[in-house]
Symmetry: C2
Subunit: 200 residues, 2 copies
DNA sequence: GTCTATAGGCCGATAGAC
DNA sequence: GTCTATCGGCCTATAGAC
C-alpha cells in the first residue's frame, strides 16, 4: 500500500473528473465544444476549478491527450506481445473506441500548437510500435513480406482504420464491408510464399 | 456574351471575395478561425456584409463548400475521361492541393449539421466516380482486378491520400515515400494477369 | 480547494441611416 | 449595398474571500 494522503486523493478525484468530462465532450460534441464552463458543468464543478487544476485550456487538452495516449499505448504494447500481433493491431485500429478521439485531437491540433507537437511525437512512437509488431509477425510466421513491407502494412492499417472511423463519424459506410473483407484476406494470406505478395 | 448587369457584377465580385477569404482562412488557420469578422477583414469589408450576402455562418460554410466541391468534381470528371484514369485519380487524391481543405471541412462538419449532410452527399458521389473510373481502367486494359476490386482500390486511394494529407499537415512524413512507392507499383502492375492480384 | 465577482475579449446577428 | 451602432451571449482567465 502506498501512502494515501486524503487531500491528494481528493485532488486526483477532481482532476480525473475534469479529464473525464473533457474526453466525453470531445467525443460527443467535438473538441470545439470543450470550454472551461462546459467541462465544469459536466463534472459538477465551477469553471474556475478547471483553471485552478490545469491552468490554461491548452494545458487541459495536453493532459487529456497524454492520459488517453498512455492508455492506448499500453493497450497496443500488450497487443504486440500477444499471439497474433498483426491481427490485434488491425482490430484495434479499425475499432470504434479510441479512433474517433484520435480524429478529434488531430483537428484540435490545428489550432493548438502545443497539442500538435505532442501528437507528432506519439504518432511517431505508434508508427514504430506498429512496424515492430508487424516485423515480429512476419518473422514468427516465416513470411516473406514482398511489397507489403512492415512500413507499408503499418501505413495501410492506419490509413484504412482512420478513414473507416472518419466515415463512420459522418454516418457513411458504403464499401466498408468490402474493404474490411479485403483486409481480412490480406491478414490471412498464406505464409512462406514469396509470390503472392509481389505486385510485379 | 451574356447580359452583364453592372450591379450583378459587383455583387458577384463581393461574394467571390468573401468566399475566397473564407477558404484562405480555413486553409491557413483552420475552420474554427472562420468568423464573420475575420473573413470580412481579409476581404477588406465590414463583417456585416458577410451576413448581408450569406445570411448565417452556416450558409457561408455551405456555399464555400459547394463552390469547392463543384470545382473538384469537375476536375475529377475530366481526369476520369483522360487516358489513364486510375493514375490521375491517385495523383489528385495524393496531391497537396484540395485534400487539406477536405480534412478541414470534415472537422467543421462535426459542429455544423448542414455541412455534414452536404459532405455525405458529395462523399458518396465522389466514391461512385472513383469506382466508375477504376472500372473503366480495368476494362480498357483488360485487367482482372482479383482482390483489388474497384471498390477496394477506391477506398485505398482515398484512405492513403487522406492520411498522407493529414500527416503532412502535422509535419510528419515518416514512411511516405515507402507507401507512395507501393502505390506506384500497385498502379503499374502487369495487366491481364489474374494471379498477382489475388491474396489467396 | 472551492467559492463569488468581475475584467476584457471576440462572437453572431440585427436595426436603421444613407 | 454598405455603412454605424449596438444587443446579448459565451468565452478565458484572474483576484480575493473563505
Amino acid at each position: 500500500m502506498k501512502p494515501v494522503d486524503r487531500r491528494e486523493q481528493d485532488r486526483l478525484k477532481t482532476r480525473t473528473a475534469i479529464l473525464d468530462a473533457t474526453e466525453e465532450i470531445m467525443r460527443k460534441e467535438g473538441y470545439a465544444a470543450v470550454t472551461s464552463r462546459r467541462v465544469a458543468e459536466r463534472a459538477g464543478l465551477k469553471s474556475q476549478l478547471v483553471h485552478y487544476h490545469f491552468g490554461t485550456m491548452d494545458e487541459l487538452f495536453q493532459e487529456a491527450y497524454r492520459r488517453n495516449d498512455k492508455r492506448f499505448f499500453d493497450k497496443y504494447v500488450k497487443a504486440i506481445i500477444a499471439r497474433e500481433p498483426l491481427r490485434k493491431i488491425w482490430e484495434l485500429s479499425s475499432s470504434h473506441e479510441g479512433m474517433d478521439l484520435v480524429a478529434e485531437y488531430l483537428s484540435a491540433a490545428n489550432h493548438r500548437k502545443i497539442l500538435r507537437d505532442e501528437i507528432v511525437q506519439t504518432w511517431s512512437r505508434f508508427r514504430a510500435l506498429y512496424i515492430s509488431g508487424i516485423e515480429k509477425h512476419y518473422e514468427d510466421n516465416n513470411i516473406d513480406a514482398g511489397d507489403f513491407t512492415p512500413g507499408v502494412m503499418a501505413f495501410l492499417i492506419i490509413a484504412i482504420g482512420g478513414t473507416l472511423a472518419n466515415e463512420r463519424g459522418l454516418g457513411f459506410s458504403e464499401g466498408h464491408e468490402e474493404i474490411i473483407g479485403f483486409m481480412e484476406a490480406l491478414l490471412n494470406k498464406p505464409r512462406g510464399n514469396d509470390r503472392i505478395n509481389r505486385l510485379s
